[in-house]
Symmetry: C4
């Protein structure tokens, strides 16, 4: 019952056009955007108690911002809900640093292309993390991740030391997301928007694969090289912008009490 | 893992009584009806970001109307949300033509009996599209489609050229709907109402087949000739009208904040 | 793929204490109760378009009352929504008789202990109807039906003739409910309250059996004679009253916009 | 199809730090807290008609408090909704004692470390109770129970005698929860808060295991000794407090009509 390989190599999600990274416009005043990102993740099933966190690289190079401990994703509203932590785990602003800060620190250290990192326990992806099955492109969502999702099987315990953080970063490699065995997922992007989309796509892709696997029917998935083509066709800057703005408007409706 | 056949022959859904096609009363002022059709599809699980589209043949023969890019099904309210496109993809009115317009153009070209076409990514039908299983009449919904749902397995990528559009139209054949492998579904009807019902029935039928397949129990489905008889018994003009009006009233309740 | 047996014998659900039948207090002014019964069924997943119907034996012996055609379960509010039909299908009051009136007529004819009959298409029970598996007491719900649910496999088409109605009544036998292959369910009771509870228990029982079947795990069910003992212990008049009143209050909350 | 062993030994959930038990601050004025506990369980899927109950050991040693019969979890608001029962089933305050009071009495008698006991029928745990599969740590939730969930297979009927209550208490052993075959679950804790969390974690853990089991994919779980380490790392007093307070705030949002 032991997995022998700790990771599967990513297929190049970071080949996405440079323009997208440039679109990331992190500023000290962007707490509103980052708060919306948390609440969008909540809306899409990523809340698990007060656990999980989304971090954004500090535009001034001091480390990264993440929500403080003790509050839930749906409660994040602004600056007072964030702490600033440097890559060695020193708290620079705010109070209440999650013990799993090393996930974020080590990914920011090893991935200069990444400006936002999420770690959550959504139901289907956390359940799928228990399987040994590669994530397959059952429908669009996994293709949107370029088939590049890896696995971390080192421990199912909290990632609360730099050593464990480095293991997760290594398992992630150049990919947009890593499934963490019997634990949850970590996902990232060149911007907070793309990071959130990666988390949402992964949860939906895992749900689809669990359902088609369960069906007992023979099934197929989008393989190479079609997936690489599809990724390039679909994941344009316009698609990413439209998709993000879709979630922002959907959230506004939800928060206004409109059925979504 | 390759499918060798690209389509399965339809069983004659377009044998439906002519009276129904005549009931389609498309006029230039019908944007309100078409907007409701989009919002009904949203209510029934057909929203995927700002992707997917429903088109209606222009009553004046200039092509077809579909929602513009960048907005979601639940946001379609009236004329400003639509574009008019001709069968060669030329934009005649409005702004923001979806890249997959050829799905609609080629079906309108090859199916004079069709006045509305939908292309969406609902969760269960998109997941079932990955299987190689014929859609079976587990319950009423698939019977309502006359067992005539086909498969398109040419690509899981966007259908963004006339050549690909023709492939999908060919795979659809005379059927009311086609499952698009690892992608989603396309459905159509002699009226916008029947088109929307076909999409709703297909999503529910796929859900039922995935659940009964997963159960591990031996199971049966309505086969020929019983299904053909059942289709004729159930799919009367009165049933279609009652079903459409049901969704319109259900939508009104939902939009008024009443639990549905 | 043909089923050879059309029914499985019931285990004696009608052995329930006489006191319960006596509790049924049908009066001509009870349209409010009957409307609530429809809306409770809607709340618990029994709405399928404007299809399905619940009937109550006329206290004056003229036949039975059921909702009229063209409206949904959630829309039933009072006398104007009902029609009175005699056991030969003659309309005595109101307008719009469902074509499947023979289900009700033939059960009322053959079952003097029954004062209410429901026929619906809830998702899980309709899906489970496709299986050849006996309903098993995975949890309390199936025990509450005394393991007495039968199957009708004569046709999956509408039951719109007295002959078909008699077939369904025969398949039902002395049971509280019958699964109708590739179609839905019919359920009944000595009172409208017990009839509604039977429908709700059956949908939940089918859901549980589909889920445990799908799990791939070895599983057990409550068998005889334990189930018979359990049925007697649980299904007391107080339990039936408490359960019905629970749904009435839950419905009141839902209709007041309170999350349920 | 018979289970030969009635229990599986617990792994030491009651090894939790003494500080946590001390945190339990039961007072005669705590009906508001206990009512919230009922409504949190309702929010998290533990309502089944007016069945099920949560009990709290009387701080003055007279027995335990539990909801009265005939009302649902979402209706519990204060003192008038509770009854006080001694360990022999004598009613000391209030009216309407649930027939299954012996579950609570016998666990309070045999487990001095326990100050609250819940017995409910949540959908996934009740369904999983039918399996013979040990609960496995698919994700965090089962780890939070320290892999210590046992099984009771003596009867699926009501536990309405001291003898049956003792059987359940014996099957529970030193564990935080016991799966009751074809019936439901019983869970407990040193405080009402921990008891409620145990019930919530168990329902979610059963859901995850049913889904991964159904997937047909090879899967792994957190085994010993990693789970023991993980339990110690995660289940700190701060985590328990944060998790409980999360549910209290989530409930407040729900009761204010905010989407959760």
């Amino acid at each position: 019952m032991a997995d022998t390989s700790r990771t599967e190599p990513g297929l190049g999600w970071n080949e996405m056009p440079r323009a997208k990274a440039a679109k990331s416009n992190l500023t000290g005043s962007d707490f509103r955007l980052w708060s919306i990102a948390y609440r969008v993740l909540d809306m899409e099933g990523h809340t698990d108690l007060t656990q999980g966190h989304l971090s954004i690289r500090d535009p001034n190079g001091r480390g990264f911002w993440m929500k403080r401990t003790g509050i839930a994703f749906f409660e994040i509203k602004g600056r007072k809900d964030f702490v600033l932590v440097d890559l060695d785990g020193n708290r620079l602003e705010g109070k209440g640093v999650h013990g799993e800060w090393p996930i974020h620190a080590e990914i920011f250290r090893s991935r200069p292309d990444v400006n936002a990192v999420g770690h959550t326990h959504p139901f289907y992806a956390s359940t799928f993390s228990a399987s040994r099955e590669p994530l397959r492109a059952v429908a669009h969502e996994a293709s949107n991740l370029n088939g590049a999702v890896t696995r971390y099987v080192g421990t199912s315990n909290l990632i609360d030391t730099p050593k464990l953080g480095r293991e997760v970063a290594e398992a992630l490699g150049p990919a947009p997301a890593v499934l963490m065995k019997n634990h949850g997922i970590t996902f990232c992007g060149p911007s907070v928007e793309e990071c959130v989309l990666a988390g949402i796509f992964l949860e939906r892709a895992c749900h689809a694969q669990l359902v088609i696997g369960a069906s007992g029917f023979a099934w197929d998935y989008t393989g190479e090289p079609e997936m690489r083509e599809k990724y390039k066709t679909v994941m344009t800057p316009a698609f990413i912008r439209n998709s993000w703005e879709f979630y922002v408007r959907k959230l506004a409706r939800r928060e206004a009490g409109i059925a979504v």
